[in-house]
């Protein structure tokens, strides 16, 4: 509750370097004390006798990482997030390219750097969003954002029309293009789902992939064990993921800011580790294979020779058999699912619950003073966000036909979060743009693959420099007294109406 007494504008003070160094050194010392025994010394069983192996390079790297991490966090708090953001990316890159003694160290270094960069980026983003500094440049960018958003209202129906027509546009209707489009749409859906909790409610969730995993495994297990159909499992996967969201929601309710982010990060990892180690249930690292493909709404299958009593899709419509049919069907499926999430997000912003999410993002103390039950609305945000993540997960499972814990690493959460942050504060169109940039581009330019994370980091730095609130961050009121947004409303209604029409 010290928040009530705290004065804003901590950034205006100069940085007390001695204090910063002291705090970082203290953290590093504690890390040293902990790691020197737990990591530095290892007992090995060699031919019946126990010998102690030392691993001091690991200790050194861990301590250095803790020092740098603490240093970065304190600097961020002292109002210098930008150098920290760049430093985080540099550390992550160093982890990739420097010769480190063990893979685990490489992973730790890269993850540490990315977390630090994300954290600093988040502060930059939030800070400029909250204090709304009226720099001329920011104002100009905001006008760009506003006009882009206005244009989006008219472009959105066109974009939806284009998306619907894509499988029939010559030159773009080959298998690989549709595959890429499906992949991009998956991330658009995940981005929109995560946007509910991060963009609207302002809670930094670093473990979104957990819900994605819960959805994917729900479908995979239900379908392979009980043979339940995809169309039954899809909503069930949503329900399971939503329950996971609720279960996680309870313990983290009281946390906010960094603590919240760290606990969600931990939750994401816990889910992955459970999937990895609960061999009897999840098949561990071997994953689950031959996950059934979806049928055509239970009417027909997408196989050349259907089994007894089944109809084939190509027979149903009198077409020649083609493997592309299923690809196109999956594409339409994810398009419809993504549009449903979009429809929900657009509608909910105009409802009391959505408004209270945004209010929570702006000032949660004021929320409580207005009689808003913060616990309940946070839980609701978590649950809905998780539900959409789970539905996307079950789509992922049915599309891949094979899932393993490999697909649900922290990097995945980071990518989805990057899409939301780059796209802009709660901006639906921004997510599409960012997903096209981050997912579509590397898929098209395959050679870039190994530099993808580097490109991510670079893009993040650039965006934060250029436009800390995200590409298309511009917020229009959800309701107006003087009717300034009437055109806007009509446009959004069209965009929203696209969803049920699919």
């Amino acid at each position: 509750m010290a928040v009530l007494a705290a004065e804003p504008g901590a950034a205006a003070r100069g940085v007390d370097w001695r204090h910063v160094l002291k705090e970082s050194a203290l953290a590093a010392f504690i890390a040293l004390m902990l790691t020197i025994t737990m990591v530095g010394l290892r007992t090995l069983d060699s031919g019946g006798s126990l010998i102690i192996e030392t691993r001091f390079p690991e200790v050194a790297v861990a301590v250095l990482l803790v020092f740098l991490g603490r240093f970065g966090l304190v600097l961020t708090r002292e109002g210098m997030p930008l150098p920290v953001l760049i430093g985080g990316v540099v550390v992550a890159a160093a982890g990739l390219f420097l010769p480190l003694p063990a893979t685990v160290l490489r992973v730790m270094t890269v993850a540490g750097g990315i977390i630090l960069a994300l954290r600093a980026g988040w502060v930059l983003w939030r800070h400029s969003a909250v204090t709304a500094d009226r720099e001329a440049r920011d104002l100009a960018m905001d006008r760009v954002g506003a006009s882009v958003q206005r244009v989006t209202r008219y472009v959105a129906p066109l974009a939806i029309a284009f998306a619907v027509a894509l499988p029939f546009i010559p030159g773009l209707n080959d298998r690989s293009s549709i595959d890429i489009a499906t992949l991009v749409l998956m991330y658009v859906m995940l981005g929109w789902g995560l946007n509910i909790i991060v963009g609207l409610a302002g809670l930094l969730d670093l473990g979104y992939v957990a819900f994605y995993a819960v959805g994917a495994y729900s479908y995979a297990l239900l379908a392979t064990t009980f043979g339940w159909s995809f169309w039954l499992c899809l909503p069930l996967a949503g329900v399971f993921a939503a329950s996971a969201g609720l279960i996680l929601g309870f313990p983290v309710l009281r946390l906010r800011g960094d603590y919240f982010a760290i606990v969600t990060l931990g939750f994401g990892e816990i889910i992955r580790v459970i999937l990895l180690n609960w061999y009897d249930f999840t098949n561990g690292p071997d994953g689950i294979s031959s996950i059934p493909r979806p049928s055509f709404f239970g009417l027909a299958t997408f196989t050349r020779r259907p089994g007894e009593g089944d109809t084939a899709f190509h027979d149903l419509f009198g077409l020649d058999y083609s493997t592309v049919h299923r690809v196109i069907f999956l594409y339409y499926l994810i398009l419809a699912l993504a549009l449903i999430v979009n429809f929900f997000s657009l509608r909910v912003r105009k409802l009391p619950i959505g408004r209270s999410w945004e209010a929570l993002r702006e000032d949660d103390i004021a929320c409580q003073a207005l009689g808003i039950n913060r616990r309940n609305i946070k839980l609701a945000a978590f649950t809905f966000s998780a539900m959409f993540g789970g539905i996307a997960g079950s789509f992922f499972a049915t599309r891949q036909g094979f899932i393993s814990p490999e697909s649900f690493t922290f990097i995945e959460s980071a990518v989805i979060l990057a899409i939301v942050v780059l796209g802009g504060l709660g901006s639906q169109a921004g997510v599409v743009l960012a997903a096209l940039l981050l997912i579509g581009m590397p898929e098209v330019l395959r050679e870039l693959e190994q530099y993808r994370m580097l490109a991510f980091g670079g893009a993040m730095v650039l965006i934060m420099l250029w436009r800390p609130r995200g590409l298309l961050a511009h917020r229009d009121p959800t309701v107006t007294l003087h009717g300034g947004g009437r055109g806007a409303k009509a446009g959004e209604a069209v965009a929203a109406a696209g969803a049920p029409a699919q």
Binding site: P352, R355, D363, N373, V479, H482
Partner: protein
């Protein structure tokens, strides 16, 4: 003072009994008791760090008091605030507040700020937003009513023209009034204003005084007011409570408090004389001039 007579029989709106708040070793409020009546402005004054804001934080559930009883009587229904959760205090007991450093939803429009304040009403009308998702007529009606209430308060605080702008784009004085309007949209029975006039120019400050007295007279609610500007306090409050180092040192009408030697001592005892309210300073100077050097001991 006729308003006070109306409610005299019904008992006070708020009874604070033996309120104590400790932070570790620091006693921020030390056994403070006072009453606040309906249709009255009860001012809480005192030097910096006296514990005024802490009293508000206890009343509105941001702090759990270490000891004490906070009894509120909302139209005959009793509430014990110290046992309630913060949001329930605002929602059920009807205690609204503003903050010393304004807390608006900066990126949301002025109108939206006022609609968020009606969250609980709108949630019920929209079937906890589920029915609202499908645009049921009952929710549309409730939203129209909510906008009407918001418009009433916007007119009242002269912000109707800027209703669709982000709250953070308003000048400071407007933000302060918007925060008051937002609290009033929760339809409270007790309003706690934490230094509403801080940072306002004299004209804005005079408008604000009129707004506060109007709220008292037209809406019949009790008002708790923390204020540093003595001229304002003496002019508009019906009842004043003076805190110093967490203890109550005086309690009474503006007239009584103005002449209370304990109050004068507390304010003079301050090292920085920036805290010395001009009115009190003038009084003290006048007293000193009148009674001469011997007067001090007599008082």
């Amino acid at each position: 003072m006729s308003a006070a007579l109306d409610t005299g029989s019904a008992g006070p709106l708020l009874e604070v009994e033996h309120l104590t708040m400790r932070f570790g070793g620091l006693v921020a409020i030390d056994n403070v008791s006072f009453d606040a009546a309906d249709r009255e402005i009860t001012a809480i004054i005192g030097p910096n760090g006296a514990g005024k804001t802490t009293v508000f934080n206890c009343l509105t559930g941001f702090y759990k008091p270490t000891e004490g009883r906070l009894a509120l009587d909302r139209g005959g229904r009793p509430y014990l605030l110290e046992r309630m959760e913060g949001h329930d205090i605002a929602h059920h007991a009807g205690v609204a507040r503003t903050f010393q450093n304004v807390r608006l939803f900066g990126n949301m429009s002025v109108l939206e700020n006022l609609l968020v304040a009606q969250h609980n009403t709108l949630m019920r009308a929209s079937g906890y937003s589920v029915l609202g998702l499908f645009g049921v007529p009952s929710y549309r009606k409730a939203e129209r009513e909510a906008i009407d209430l918001a418009r009433f308060w916007l007119d009242r605080v002269n912000l109707t023209a800027r209703a669709d702008e982000p709250a953070s784009s308003l000048p400071y004085g407007d933000q302060r009034r918007l925060e008051i309007a937002r609290s009033m949209c929760t339809r409270p029975c007790l309003m706690c204003l934490d230094e509403p006039a801080a940072g306002l120019n004299p004209r804005e400050s005079a408008d604000l005084n009129r707004l506060i007295t109007d709220i008292r007279d037209e809406h019949g609610i009790g008002i708790l007011l923390i204020e540093h500007d003595m001229s304002v306090v003496m002019q508009i409050s019906d009842h004043i409570i003076v805190l110093d180092y967490g203890r109550k040192i005086s309690d009474g009408t503006p007239e009584q408090v103005r002449n209370d030697p304990a109050v004068i001592r507390a304010y003079l005892g301050e090292e920085e004389d920036e805290e010395l309210p001009p009115e009190v300073a003038a009084d003290v100077a006048a007293d000193a001039a009148k009674s001469g050097p011997a007067g001090g001991e007599g008082a």
